[in-house]
């Protein structure tokens, strides 16, 4: 078996490629995506008022991670390229945002337009970095690509120490962010505002990605993933397609990192370690590779699973000696076991499992009907 391609299990591939019931006009797709995004946005808006600040912050963090996992899903799930370096791309976006926000603050500029400008800056810089890495990545396959992206994941945080004059080493930079606009009221919770920023940006990204996936480009991505030779014979420029996928994916990761910086109001290299890159990859695979919905599950798991397993540990009443050993370690063990079990029991990830469940239900209903 060759690992040069076929990152997605055949089962997932076949569902992704299953013939649509009827050819839909492109305008219809766009409208449907818009509608879903609008509904999700309205739901989140309502939710931001319904839940307490900490849940708002957690949701905002999910949104920021979702930017990155969605990009990684496009790269790995749809285009078949593996990246262990998306944490580094997030760091690039985060540091760009921190530097621009600090420059604005130093220049005494204020106003609601600053943050969008900084976010756009973060996007542009990571797009450029993504292009450079992508050109190298397009030549490499499987573990060799993993090796290079892994090195990228290690290098970028280390640069913060090398250039500590600008980036302030391990301690990192603080990120000045404007408070919510006064029009929302003097006591508007900050976490709700953070959720609005993060969710708004992420929904926009998802809308664009969903359309990209369904466009001509999305089809070439998948064609390259499934069979490079066939794609080349069909007139697709394989390397160019791979670079394009990498650039798109890097840009969204950069935006995700920039959003994380906004949420944390600080950036430091420790937050973007190799561990983050590996966790992002785990998240998209566990969520279900190959569909953007899987990226949603992945981002949710990244935030919810540590929290849940910590809560579970807290339920156990332990002696001080036992507590010292288990504290911190038990949640990690639960997390590890979950990963292994999910991958063995449901290699299609959460989304694959749901699809299977849904299909089983449908089948039973139709059987009963007949």
């Amino acid at each position: 078996m060759s690992a040069t391609r076929a990152v997605v299990p055949p089962r997932a591939r076949s569902t992704a490629e299953s013939p649509r019931r009827a050819p839909t006009p492109r305008g219809g797709t766009l409208l449907r995506h818009l509608a879903v995004v609008l509904v999700a946005g309205l739901l989140l808006l309502g939710l931001s008022y319904a839940v307490e600040p900490f849940r708002n912050f957690q949701l905002a963090t999910v949104a920021a991670y979702l930017c990155a996992t969605a990009g990684l899903t496009v790269l790995t799930g749809l285009n078949g390229q593996l990246s262990l370096g998306h944490g580094a791309l997030m760091a690039t976006g985060a540091y760009t945002l921190a530097l621009t926000q600090n420059a604005f603050a130093d220049a005494g500029l204020t106003g609601g337009w600053l943050l969008p400008v900084s976010l756009a800056g973060a996007l542009l810089v990571t797009l450029a970095v993504g292009a450079v890495v992508g050109v190298a990545a397009a030549r490499l396959r499987g573990p060799y690509l993993a090796g290079v992206t892994l090195a990228v994941a290690v290098v970028v945080p280390a640069l913060a120490v090398t250039f500590d004059g600008v980036l302030n080493g391990e301690q990192g930079l603080s990120v000045p962010v404007e408070p919510p606009p006064l029009a929302l009221g003097a006591y508007f919770p900050y976490e709700r505002w953070q959720l609005w920023i993060a969710a708004g940006t992420t929904l926009l990204v998802l809308l664009l990605l969903a359309n990209l996936v369904r466009s001509r480009y999305g089809r070439t991505f998948r064609a390259v993933r499934d069979d490079e030779v066939a794609a080349r014979l069909a007139g697709i420029h394989v390397a160019r397609t791979q670079v394009l996928a990498f650039v798109v994916s890097a840009g969204t990761a950069g935006l995700g990192g920039a959003l994380l910086a906004v949420l944390a109001q600080s950036v430091s290299p420790g937050a973007f370690s190799l561990t983050l890159s590996l966790f992002l990859l785990m998240a998209v695979v566990i969520g279900g590779l190959g569909r953007l919905a899987g990226a949603v599950w992945g981002a949710v798991l990244l935030v919810a699973l540590p929290d849940l397993s910590h809560a579970l540990t807290e339920l156990l009443a332990l002696s001080p000696a036992a507590a010292q050993r288990l504290e911190g370690n038990l949640p990690l063990a639960i997390f590890g076991i979950t990963l292994v079990v999910v991958m063995i029991a449901a290699p299609g990830g959460v989304q694959g499992l749901l699809t299977r469940l849904g299909r089983a239900l449908l089948a039973r209903r139709s059987r009963r009907r007949s």
Binding site: V148, L150, V152
Partner: protein
């Protein structure tokens, strides 16, 4: 000049360990087409077994043997209990499972042994022998070179000359045909995992005494360096792993000696790009690296 000699020898002795660990990665890659990200955690687990055995018996060498045995066992268990049941249709699935194992193993070690550093004694003196005022290798460095050399030689012999080695290679490269010819493909795969895991445990035993000490995360950084080494050399090539390990060891030593230790990750990336952009399958890639 003194400094150059010093840095070279220092780099070579660390490079030898990276080579051994890279070799373990190459073994599993060749047998199962899996990059075993859990290699480091498994090796640390074996090293903890050695620690317990040494503490109980007072003998370093009993601990050393226990680590090798624990490595064999752990490799077989990981294959039989976990990896065997993973859908290998996507190469990503085993990678994610391996990452899950890393979390699990490190958490269990943290629970059992705590997160304190444990002393990891070296069986031979680590003081450099001085010749004409120039500090050369220590007895321990010589032990490392000898051990890695023996392992490389033994593996080459097993795969080239023995029936079992031949079966393992056949099972890895043509599982269907091998099965038809009566080779126990599953057994060979388990044997491959066990062997690789044992070599990884050996590398951990060699490298931990030169590092901060025994700790659940003791092999994290070594794994990154060794994986780099394996990629530079070419994951299909055992000689590539050895050369890659030595190259990475030398590079790290020269860069931290002459430029500053914060630049080592950058140097590693440059090395990877320089090698892979010229030879996308690593230095020792065979011609068929781009099978389609």
């Amino acid at each position: 000049m003194d400094r150059f000699v010093f840095l070279t020898l220092d780099g070579l002795s660390r490079g030898a360990v990276y080579a051994a660990f890279a070799l373990a990665l190459v073994l599993i890659w060749r047998a199962a087409r899996v990059v075993n990200f859990a290699q480091g955690a498994m090796a640390v687990a074996a090293a903890y077994v050695a620690y317990s055995v040494s503490a109980a018996t007072g003998s370093y060498w009993l601990g050393f043997l226990a680590a090798l045995a624990a490595g064999l066992l752990l490799g077989a268990v990981v294959d039989r209990v976990v990896m065997r049941h993973v859908d290998h249709a996507s190469p990503l699935n085993p990678v994610i499972v391996a990452l899950g194992l890393v979390l699990l193993i490190q958490a269990v070690l943290g629970m059992v042994y705590g997160s304190e550093f444990r002393p990891a004694p070296a069986p031979f003196s680590r003081s450099a022998l001085t010749v004409g005022g120039l500090a050369l290798l220590s007895p321990y460095d010589l032990f490392v070179f000898a051990t890695v050399g023996v392992v490389v030689g033994a593996l080459a012999w097993v795969f080239a000359r023995t029936a079992v080695g031949l079966r393992m290679r056949a099972a890895a490269f043509a599982p269907e045909v091998s099965r038809l010819l009566g080779v126990n493909v599953g057994g060979m795969l388990t044997l491959g995992w066990a062997l690789a895991s044992s070599v990884g445990a050996l590398a951990a035993m060699l490298v931990i005494p030169t590092e901060l000490g025994l700790h659940p995360h003791a092999m994290d950084l070594v794994f990154v360096s060794a994986f780099t080494a394996a990629v530079v050399g070419g994951l299909d090539s055992p000689p590539g792993a050895v050369v890659g390990g030595l190259v990475v060891g030398l590079l790290l030593s020269y860069v931290s000696g002459y430029a500053g230790s914060d630049l080592t990750p950058l140097a590693v990336l440059v090395l990877l790009l320089a090698v892979l952009l010229v030879r996308p399958g690593g230095l020792f890639a065979t011609v068929a690296a781009r099978r389609v």
